[in-house]
Each structure stands twice: as structure tokens, then as C-alpha cells.
Symmetry: D4
Subunit: 208 residues, 8 copies
């Protein structure tokens, strides 16, 4: 009766970044902007670090929603990039679903703006088709806590796993011995407290 | 074991507005008044925009609970309007249930004041009778966060989908190409941040 | 798969007030004292108003936990009163369970201090024995929000319904026509905003 | 040693609206958007209601800061409108100061975006020149509470009076008998709780 | 340069209760209703306990603002009661000021609804005329924290002392030996935590 | 369909303390440091009091994560202590799992830093292997509320019971008569409010 | 016009601990209990560390207010201890003032329960008599934030310096070279984050 | 009687960065780490942009306080760098004061960790010596809001101006025409919302 333990596997996971557009970001008010920017870039960095197939999609980027955040465009120059002509639920766009299928992965890591729509709609559709869905809650933003908790409740009840970028990175990595340097750098770049630990540690160590 | 993905369909959905009365609104303290007023009017506007059958009901409006908010009365001049003689759960009123049945819809979008009673009671009854229930959490208000979360927990556990008016509008619309102007106006009227995006966009565009 | 709609029935419900003791109340910090006192007294008043069999129990009242709050003792002079000699979970006390069985009711409305222990333990035990359990969340207090949410999660997952005293009163009453005066007085005494509505209404009406 | 009671006088007051531009508004995160929009429009409405000379100014409106919010432009079609070519402190712009001097008023009611810069800088400069300055705190927005409280502290210490639009309206009006209808409409349009009081009152009264 | 220590003296203090009306109370959202009701009644009780001359005033009580809260009317049946015909600042009403002068006191303890207007305006006027003003912050309510802090800043800068009802009671009483029973009862009736201390103490003591 | 009532049994429970390391603790920002330190030490004290087999594990303690908090090392000098060479999920470490199996217990009480990773990963793995898992939410810390609630949702959905150290102690103890002195001391040392109750009680009692 | 820089001098300072009694502590709800207990004990430790003359006083400790917290009694066995027979403002007690005068110090460091009364009243009186007053804000507790901020405003306006125990310790110590070990131990015992820094540092250093 | 308008002048200002050390940063809990890191780096960037003389100082950087944050060291390779041997108040260090005097500036912009000590102490000392002091509140961090507000109150009362890095940058720059590109880049790098405005603007503009 309990949800089984579905564990992220770096060989079977793809990342979907949905509608992180310059205009839409002004709608995000449930996470403070400095933190949200950091979370989104951390998720992008981990996708690259683990070499996960990543798919970008936008909604109406010629209009007021604005262009995809340039950092994401630069981070994934060769990723499938689906500028949807109008579908609100990215899953209603055939190219988007085809791009996902082409990865051959069955675990989907999803983040986007706004959580209740651009994340929840494709998450629910993917679950219905049998994918294992992992929502990156802290790289997904929305209007306020009311809409966030409504969206979380709907996705969780449908079987999605709620995680943050840090949990995703740790579950994908499994063992520090796979690469201490790489994961340490990822954390140092996106967790100020961790960076400080490393700075102090290195200083003391180099002084030996 | 997971809740299946029940997707709102504009051809199969009706809206129930329960007890948004001038007196009862003074009890709503879990959402700030400017925001709550906007959310309720946004829900009314989307019901009209998608031409969803809408049913109004009130509790004791001659007494201290006060009359239905005039804006709602004006928005739906021809809607069934059930002034309940005493039933607290609107579903206990035969006229109310008959009005719902008369719509022939099986998806019910519910909002009201207060969440734990006027929304939760009919939502639970409707679920029991097999309806698909969508609670508009941000157009439903109550005393404080304790009673909100108690009500959400009870409704979600019983199978209701928690959404906000924005998510409802997006799921009903499906594709911007169905009508960019209309949905854009709805959003512009009820989301100040979105209105600003459009203002800046139009100004720049018209300057070309 | 959803929790079914279990509706409170005034002919089949009993109230359990667990450990509202003068000393233990100083541990309650997740609800502000003025509000908490009001909620507990409102629950007592509704139990009397609906003539629900009510059972009082305390833990070690000769020690630092202190005596039962006098208002509750006075409200239910003839109620079974089980001063437990040591059992932390009231359900482990045979007299307590016997008193519940003696009521012949199968719906239990529970509140107490502290939520995670004095409420959750008997609630979980009662559910296991097939009772329908309604936790009055706002008449139950505990140390902080961490422990509250942990307790709510555990009880809700086990099948308890989370409600507040206002929702309980409304679900028990069903129809205002059963007694307008009585329920109105209950609300007026415990909801300042409601009292104000009535005051304004009566003043205007009497002026006609 | 105490700040003397400087009382707003509708015959001696002018309103300065500084940089309420569509782009800059996305920076405002210390007040929720629905509330902030309402506060700014309420201030505009009261300026018109009391026929106070009003001066509009913007910073770089051709660039990313975006155009003045259209509602303000429409509300004051004949007001002095100073699109500053670059001065951050509006008081550094000679046309702006000239427009203020032309009003002949010595009380300045100021609001703008963002509080710490666009409001505080001209407020401090105006105080230095001997004006009486009233900052409308709830029609002025900024990044977060840190910057708000820093700005309030600096302005208050320099002699500014901190008020909200409601206090400004009340101090200007002095006596309801000057015009019940007009002020009541202003409040009803911008204070949902007040509108509800009026709705209930009128319904009851008309029923006599 | 510092504000001198002006100490409340029960022989030289009067209480002004301004506009605690049933309708206006629905505007108060910076203090939770159960707490606010308790604070206002505690202030009334202390005024009676110390036999301070008390003056009641209301604004437009025939209209939507509603009647004075009945508990206050009953508490002070013989107090001067000035139903203002329109003046927003009670100090603009000659009867109100005359009633104050008639008390012969020079210390004024003020509370009311809403803080920024009904409290701050007469407080500022009284300071200007040389009265010593004590604002009872927790028996004065307003729309939200923005308006509260603006009002507090304005009053404090003008020389008002900000206190709560508990501080006022303690400063007036000076020494428990003047009357233990009386002050203890006042606290027990309005501070649940204190009542619990007394309950536990009495139980233990009586058991000796 | 409901989660059954799994009750902690002191004869069948073991405690897992995961990664409470001096460096990692600086990452914990969802619980205030004084409270968090107290909670962790309270959990350690209760493990000793109930003589529960306890297992300590750390991640990379030679590096920036830092050493295990000395208080824990001292509290359990003979406990299995697994310094993991790299596995992020402690359950991936064979020695750790072997140590758990060696206890012969089937109830696991888990706490650690950070909640989403060091607690959730082994909790999910243990559930999958049929253990009954009790997460001590207030002795587990993480970055912020977003990551906490994501982790709680994932663990609860998988069948874990969320509790705090106080609830764990009470459910293990069952009956005060088993040892009043011992449990009282535990509570007195870690709950300031409880200590105060005992202090007042003892003073009054000794005065008899 | 600005408050001058009055710097704490360990040769000219005394500490006043007012009414930290077991019963009264249950009234403190503006600071979480674990943190408050730590702050009070930290202040006691620093008073001893700097060998500052310290004066204890209590109000009615035979009654419900309860005895002085035992830790304070033990920390200062030889300190003047004034159990006031009834004066609410400790400064009204001649023995208390005499004890202060006997120290010959002109800087008074004050903390107590509750802030608005037991701290503010003697602080205001001491200022009036020309003492330099330093209020330890985090070792002083009260009912809620309303009463805290009212009390802070009154004391600050009268010339008191608001500090916390950490600032007091640093200003008294002046230079780490006076005693690294001692101050480091004080901080390590009362600032968990600082303790962790030292733990990590010592571990790394000892490894050299 | 009011504080006069002291306006920052880029030709007369120096920046003091006090104790932003890797270890001490773990003590900062009144500002979220992502935001705090951004604020500190923004202040560094603006100091460089306006070519303000900048002085770095640290406390015990060989010990647990840890080394200066590397980003600051790199940003100001040629700045005076005073590693204090023990003085807690940097102003007690002659080299530090000499370095300030050597700049010949009379306006000091100060930020540091922790606010109440490392910022407030030198700020108070500088004010006493006649400097104009500007505290950058959002690039200064401390334990919690209690200590922050105590420190702000003490500094403001002594004559310091509280500002944030954004206000400082704007007041120094005075007029966008001095350099649009440079200031725009500074804002774009440190204000995500502003960066988004620019991204959208440039995209639309380049499309012309």
C-alpha cells in the first residue's frame, strides 16, 4: 500500500526544464529570487555533471513570457529545444514527448515555472504513461504558498516523488568515491555554507 | 494505488460558488482580503470565459451572514441561485443537487466560504456520489491556517484535487491557440505581474 | 482507494478530552494562548450543546502536570473522569476504554494536550479497533509546528479525519432550522467576528 | 524634542508618484502584488478625489524599467509628467522640482518604487529644503523587508512622517460630513472588508 | 535629549476608547480576533479596576461602522459617550475634548480601531496640547503590519509612550500589596498562562 | 487502506544516528541551532535511557564534513561506529546494515543531517526491506522548509512514521509507573517548560 | 543630537537579573524556550566570567510566580538576593537600589521577565537617575512581539542601549588576547554553531 | 532636531569589510545564505565599480573563525588588509584606523559579520570621531532578528544611516548618464529580477 522506493539511477534518468523564461520568472514569488536562481542553475549543473539527457521547452517565447533564461540556453547548446506553439501542458506537444521517448529513459526529473501548471501538468501526464517522476521542488516556482501546496498535493497523490536538487544529486551520485572533486565542486558552487566548510578545511590543511 | 490523472475538461465541468456572502467574508483570515477578492473574481471570470454552467448558493442571506457579494450576482444573472433555508452542507439541499445534475457535467469545480464547511462538506458528498471534484483553494477562505490544512487534508484524502484558479484556467484552456486574446485578458486582469509583462511587451512592440 | 466520506452523526458520537491540565498547558506553543483557550472551551460548549457523551481523563494530576482546567471540570460534572495512574496512552487504561464502550457510540471526537502523544496515541488505538476518529486539531496543542505536523501526518495516514471545532459543530448540526438560536449563540460566544456580525445585524434590525 | 504634529491639509498638499513602472514593479517583493496594486490605485484615487496637484515621474522608461503603469497615466492626463533622462534622485531633476514649486504646496505626499531609492532620495532632499514630507508606505514597494526597514529608518530619522493611503485619506478629509458618499466610495473600492460592511448595511436598510 | 520617564499614575490618568465598533472590527487584521477581543476587554477591566475616568466615542454608529461593542457599553454605563457626527479625529469633536478636560487628568491612555487613524490622530493632537499620551498597542487594531508600524513610528516620534494593557496595569498598580486579590483576578481572567499558574498553585496549596 | 498502527516497542527498536557531524551541522537551517542541539541530545539521552541499541555513522569525517559531534561519541562509547568511506546512503554500506541486523530489532528510529539525504535514503531502503521506520523529525535537520517538506512527503508516502523525540520517548515508555524519576529527569533536562513545572511543584511540595 | 557611544566597561558594570522565576517563564512566548533558556544561562555565565557584581531579585516567589530558576541561584550563591515583598518595579524597592549603589558601578546590564514590566520599569528609573543602561534583549522575554516592540521602543527612546548577551560579552572583553580560552569556552557552551567551528578546527589541528 | 540628509559622495567614501570569514559566516542566520552571499559580493563589486578605497580586516583567521572569503581577497588584491591580532572592535586596532585615515575620506560604508559586534562597534566608534557612517544592512549578518534589531537600534540612535547595497550604489551613482552599461551590469549580476527585465528587453529590441 505504500509508495515503493523508486531510486534515481543516472543511467535511466532524463531532465525536463519547462518554461524557465525571463518574463514568467517575475511571477515566481514563493521562493526568494537569489535562492531560486541558484537552485535552477544548480539543477542545470547537475544535469550536465551526470550527463543526463536534458530537454528544454518554452511557451510563447516571442510574447510577454519572454525568452528562455540565457544561462540555460548556454548550458545545453545541443539539447532538444521545443518552443511550443501554444500547448500549455508540454506533454500535449508531440515533439516534446518524442524527445523524451528518444532518450530511452524511464525516470523523469522535472522542474519549471509555474509549478502548478508547467510542472504539474506534464508530471501528471508522464505518471499516467508509466514514467517514474521526480519533481525538483526548489527549482520550480509559483505565485505563492497556496498554489505550491495545492500543486504538491496533486502531484504527490498521483505518485510523483518530491525532491530538491541536492537530494537528486546525492541519489544519482550514490558514492563519493565515484568522484569527490566533481560533486564537491558542484556543491561548493551552489551551497554557500558548504563552500565555507571547504574553504576553512583547505586553509587548515594546506597549512600543515 | 496512486490517484489517477483526472484532467479538467471544459465540456464536462460545472462551477459551484458556495456562500461568498458579505458577512461571512469577514470570517476569512487565512488569505489577505485584496488577494482573496481578486481570486474569487478571477474564478468568476474564468467560469464565464469558458462558459461553464455555474451554480450559486447562499446560507441565510437575510441574517447576519449577509447577501451574496454583488459582483457574483451580477456576473451570473441567469445562473441557478439556491438560497438555502437552513442546510449547512449545500449537498443536503435538493434544489442544489438537482441544479448540478441538470448540468449533466461530472466534473465539479468548487469554491466557497468557509473552506472547512461550505466547501469541504459538499465536496465530500460529491466525491461519494462519484463526481470528480476540483477544489479552488485560493478562492476558498477560512479562519486560519489550522482549519485550512485540516480541511485540505480531509478533502485530499477523500479524492479531491486541490487547485487554484490559475491552474484551473490553464487546464481548461489546454492550448493558447484556442484564444490568445481572451485568456491573456483574463490573466492581465487578475495577475498584476502578468499585466506588467504585457504592458512592457506591448510598449516595446508598438515602438517598432 | 480514497478515504470514504465518514460524516459526524450527533447520535453516534462521543467526545474525549485528554489531559487539558493546568501544568501541561504551559507546554502548548503551536497555538497562541487566547486562541487555544477559546477553542477548548468552544469544544466543551458544543459537546454540551449536542449532548454528546463526554469523557475526561488526566495524567498524574497530583504532580507537576497539574489539575484539569477548572472550566472543563465544571462543564461536565457528571462525565466519566478517569485520572490515569500512569498510562501515557489513555487507551491503555481499561476504565477509559470501558467508559467509551459504555457510550455505545462509534464516532470519537478527540482533543488533548499534547497532540503528538495524548491525542495521537489513543486516536491510533481507536482507529485500530474500528472506531471512526475525528481529531479536533485546534483544541489540541503541542510544542511547535514540527511536532504538530508529524502528529497530523501520522494520524491522517492511519485514517483519522482532521477537523476543527467549528467544522465539528457544523457537521453535527446539519441544518440551521434544527435550532438557530442555540448554534448562533455558540458561534457568537466563540467567534468574535461572528459576534460582530450578529451585533450589527441586530442593531439594524431592531431599528426598523 | 518630539517631532511636532504636522497635520495634512488638503489645501496645502501635493502628491508625487515616482517610478511606478511596469518593469520596476517586478522588483517589488515586500508587498504581495494584489495588495500593492490596490494600494497604488487607492492613492491615485484619493489624489483625484481631493484634487491634489499630482506629479508623475519615471526613470528611463524606454529601457527595461518599462513604461509608467497605464492606470496612472490615465488617471492624471494633465499632470506634469517628467520622464527623467538619467537622474536617480528625482529631486536632482530641475523640471521635477520646478513642477513641485509650481504647485505652491509645502506638504508632499510621496510614493514610489523602490522605497529605498526612488522614494527615500527625494523625500530626504525635500525635507532638507523645508518641505513637510509624508511617505505613503503601502504604496511604495521594494525588494524585501531588510531594505524597507532600512529606508523607513532613514526617512523617519530625517523627519518624514510614515503613513498609509488610508491614513492620508482620513487626515485630508477631516470630517465625514464634508462628503459621505465620496469617501465611502473610495473606501468601498479599495477595502474589501469595508465594501462588505456597506453591502450588508445597504441590504438590511433597503429592506426596511 | 532622551524621552524622560513619564510614569503612569492612577490618580492622574484617564482612558479613551475610540471606535471599537462591531463593523470596524472586521477591518482589524494585524491581531488575531480571539487575542484582540481579550486585549480590549482586559483594558476595559483595568480601567474599571483602577476606577479611571473613561470616555467612549464612536464614529457614525448608525451606518456600516456599526454600534459600539456591547461589552464596552455595559462596562461603562455612566461614562461620557460621544457619538461623533462626522469628525474622524475625535479630538476635533469639542464634546470629546471637553469630556477629557472635565476629568482633570493629564495622562491619557488611548486605544482604538484603527490604530493609524482613530488612535494616532487624537494621540498626536493630545501630545500637541501637552498631555502625556500612552498608547495601548495591543488593544488597538488595524489593517496589517505596514499600517501598524507606520502609525507606531509616527506616534512614538511625536512623544507617545507605546505600552500594552499588561504594562499599563502594572505601572498603575505599583505594588502588589495594594491589592493582591484584585490584580490577580484581572490577570487570571485575561492571561490564560497566568490563570494556569494560579490553578496549579491553589490546588497544591489547598492540598496542604 | 489506512496505515496500520505500528507502535514502538522498547524491546524491538534500534536507533540510527546518521551524519550529525560538526561541519554538516552548519547546513541545517530549518531548525534554530539551540533547539536542534537540544533535540539531538534528547534523542541520544532517550536511546541510553531505554537502552536501545544505537548505531552511529558518518560520512567523510576527515574532510570538510567534520567529525561526529563529540557529545554523541561520548554518549555511545561502545556503539557500532561506521565511518563510511563514500556511500551517501548509509544503507549502501554493508557494515552499517550488518550492524542493524545484528541488533535483531525490526523497528528503526532514524535521525540525521540532512533530512532529505542522510535520513530519507536509509529510511526508504529500510522500509523496502520490511523494517518499521520511525523518523525523528526534530532531531533531523536540513537546508530549509522546502527540502524538509519534500523529504517528509517522500518518507511518509513510503510508509515511514513521522515522530519527534518526545513522542518516541512517550511511546517507548508506555506507563509512568515504569519509572517516574527517570523519564521525569529526561524531560526536565530537555524541555525547559517542563523543568519549570517541576521546579515550582517541588518548591511548593517541599514547603509543606 | 545623536545618542553618544557609551561603551561597556567591565570595571564599571553590574548585572541585574529580574524575576527569572519558574512560573513567570511560562508567560514568555516571544522567544522559543530552548533558545531563551540558553540566552539566560549565557548571560549568567558571562557575568561570572567577567566577575561583574550581580544582583538577583524576585517577585512573590512563594506564590504562583514560582521560585527563581535554580541555575541562577546556584550561579550566584553570594549575590545580593532581593525577594521583593510586592513592588512591581524593582527600583521601588530600597534594598534593590541600595544593592546597586553598593556596587559603585554606573553601567547597568539588565535582563528579566517580562520585558515590558520587570525590565523596562527599572531600566527607565535607572536612566532617570543617570545610570547607563544596557538591556539584554535576548535574555528578556515577554508575551509576544507586540509587547516586546512596545517595550523596546519605550526603553530606547528613554536612552537605553539594546544589546544581546553576545554583544555584551564582546564589548566587555575588548580583546581576545585578554583570554582566548575563557571567552572561547563561553561561546562554545552557548553558541552551537561556534562550538562546531571549534570542534572541526581542533580535530583538523590535532591531526597535524 | 531631525537627522540631516547626509548624501553619499563617491569622491568622499571608503568601504570597510569586517570579518567576512568562512567560519564566522556559519553564524549568520538572519539572512538566507544564497541571498547573503549575493549581497556581500554585490557590495564588493560596487566598491570596485566606483573605485572606492576599500579596507579588509579579519579576526583570528588562523583559528576557527576561518580565512577571509576568497572572493573578497581576490576582488581587492591591493587593499589594506588588517589581520587583527585580537581586538574585537576593529577600531581598537591602530593599523585599521590608520588605513581609514590614509584614505582621506570622511564617509564610511561598513558591512561585516556579525552585525551587532563587528559592524556596530567600529560604526559607533567612527561616529564618535565625526565620520559619517553608512551601514550596509543586507551585507551584514548575525544570529537572528533579535540581535539584528538590537544592533540597528543602537547604530541608528547613534547617528548611522542604514542602507542596503542597492541604495548605496544608487546614491553614489547619482545619474544613469554617468554610465548606463556599468551600473546596468552591476544590477544584472546581482538582482535576478533586473537581469530578467534586461533579457526580455534586449530580446525584443534585437528583434526589431
Amino acid at each position: 500500500m505504500n509508495k515503493p522506493y523508486v531510486r534515481l539511477d543516472k543511467n535511466d534518468a532524463a531532465v525536463l526544464l519547462v518554461d524557465h523564461q525571463a518574463g514568467l520568472l517575475s511571477l515566481v514569488r514563493d521562493i526568494e529570487p537569489d535562492r531560486f536562481k541558484n537552485n535552477v542553475l544548480a539543477l542545470a549543473d547537475l544535469a550536465k555533471y551526470f550527463q543526463l539527457p536534458t530537454i528544454l521547452t518554452t511557451s510563447f517565447e516571442q510574447g510577454p513570457n519572454g525568452p528562455l533564461v540565457p544561462e540555460l540556453k548556454e548550458a545545453f547548446p545541443d539539447a532538444p529545444y521545443i518552443a511550443r506553439p501554444g500547448q500549455i501542458n508540454a506533454w500535449d506537444n508531440e515533439d516534446f514527448v518524442a524527445a523524451i521517448r528518444a532518450t530511452g529513459k524511464k525516470q523523469l526529473i522535472i522542474a519549471g515555472v509555474v509549478t502548478e501548471v508547467c510542472v504539474a501538468f506534464p508530471a501528471l501526464a508522464a505518471l499516467e504513461e508509466g514514467y517514474e517522476v521526480f519533481v525538483v521542488t526548489d527549482a520550480s516556482g509559483t505565485f505563492n504558498e497556496l498554489t505550491r501546496h495545492s500543486a504538491w498535493d496533486r502531484m504527490s497523490a498521483a505518485g510523483a516523488q518530491l525532491m530538491t536538487w541536492f537530494g537528486v544529486a546525492c541519489e544519482l551520485h550514490r558514492d563519493w568515491r565515484n568522484d569527490i572533486e566533481g560533486l564537491g565542486t558542484l556543491f561548493s558552487n551552489h551551497i554557500p555554507d558548504y563552500r565555507n566548510l571547504i574553504t576553512s578545511y583547505n586553509t587548515l590543511n594546506s597549512g600543515k
